[in-house]
Amino acid sequence: MLEIRNLDKRYGARQVLDDVSFDVHPGRMTGFVGGNGAGKTTTMRIILGVLAADGGTVTLDGVPLRDGGRRRFGYMPEERGLYPKMRVLEQLVYLARLHGLDTATATRNARELVERLGLSERADEPVEKLSLGNQQRAQIAAALVHDPEVLVLDEPFSGLDPIAVETIVDVLADRAASGVPVLFSSHQLDIVERLCDDLVIIADGRIRVAGPRTALRAQHTTLRYELLTSADTAWLREQPGIDVVEFDGDYALFDAADEDAVQRVLREATARGAVLSFARQHPTLAQIFKEVVQ
């Protein structure tokens, strides 16, 4: 398990990280969400040791990380970067060897990844000749090529078309399934919502929420229901304990004061006509995010 404890970071008078603590569990995808300048990239750079914290610790399985300890990490920095003039495959092999793999394993891994990420035809071209989307794939390959035991990816999906996103999602899910802790940040909350097992929300350098996504959702789920009937639903307004949020003839969205009120509405609706749909509304990550950050 990757444990981040009490990270502090100041740039001059500005506190960019304030007592940041959270865990990244093995085998789980942890989504790291926050607005611009909230502290995501700073946190990730500290985890990778490319930036020094003013305070706090990062440990992997209880062992503090030192120089070289991160050789087992796979890292995709926010600012993308590979050698522009170096060929894709050759570059991946080089990076894998730099992370401690022998040449044969490095070459095998690089070939597999290039194939899986759909870069086979571009494998012998210099990175600078690739389209932006393909450069992004190469960047992901660079983070994965040395069989990392921990993955830290800063915005891995930005700049990718939907098909590429699916490919990457598959690859990352595989890694997580094999027991690797995966931390990734993203602005695309719909992808995070679909992909992550755990969620960490950061705002103004402070962790607002950290924990399993399902628990978080349950916590933020209210008694909000959606009703679609064959008849008019105007009668809802007269029901005790019901607050109508949206109304459109045969459709209504309402908040109920308690479970009893919900059941009364359902009984009333079936009595008045056919109920086409009656469903509890779960908040989207975007809604939870807004609520948590405010």
Partner: protein
Amino acid sequence: MTAPAPAPRLTGSARLVALVAQREIMARLRSKSFLISSAILLLVVLAGIVFGSITAATPENPRIAASDPSLLDGIDVVEVVPVGTVDEAEDLVRSGDVEAAVVPDDSTPLGLRVIADSTEPRGLLLLLSETPPLELLDPDAVPGGLAYLVAFAFGIVFFAAGMSFGPTIAQSVVEEKSTRVIEILLAAVPTRVLFTGKVLGTSVLAFAQIALVSAMAIVGLTVTGQDALLVSLGAPVVWFVAFFVLGFVLLASLFAGTGAMVSRLEDVGATTTPVMMLVMIPYFLVIFFNDNPLVVGIMSYVPFSAPIAMPLRLFLGSAQWWEPFAALGILALTTVALIAVGVRIYENSLLRLGARVSWREAIRG
């Protein structure tokens, strides 16, 4: 849930340094501009040797007309063209068939007269005149022209290596910063390993290039029959190589450090200029002051100019046997100290993206 069986990690620093150095060398060997500039350097050296052999070849003897060949007795560096009369001799001079003519003239103390067309035939006049006996007090000393040539040769080799490979290593450092690949590299290897690998890779290339140039010079001089020069240059060249190796590593470290201070290739000149000065000033000093023993003497101990000046003094025979050892020792100590400075600047500047890192920040951290 079980973690994947971790692959064995090969983490020796030496292996990582070699990997970084190897990449550096391959990247350079793939660059067209590097290959072209190397080819030009080799061609220039080759041209110099061929030119040297042409000018050194004995010129043809001048043709001189003489109505009485005995007038030119004892002068064997001219080709005598016998003529019957003075008029005939004048005709040949006018037509350009001969450079000049010598005819008897009893009205002069020498008993002869020289006829030339429009310019004075100085060589012939010297041959015909009496010269007083000459005694050379130091017949073994190196003539001034040759001293200049050797100073120039040592100077240009060190200067060319510094000027071509120095900025190359600075650019290579900036490239890693500007493309942000540095974040991936630093997450994998310690800063010192990266620094050492880059300096080592570039140095190996520089040494290889110089070795190639030297090999070609030796073969070229031998083939064109100028090997006498080689013999007198032998020991100074060996010393030059020793000084060159240390001096170059010193410069490369400073270039790597100062290169790390900027984030864009366009800005690299701003911080590397002081190091460029350290390459240029000794070169120009040795070119202009190679005949001034005091200046060359001082320069042979100053680490930045010692690689040029000390071998020159050895060639001129003006250095005691212990002097190159002392100068090499000073250079070695300075190199160690300045590698430390280079590493420090490099470490402090590498991850500071954006604006140029100030000297104070770079050195203090």
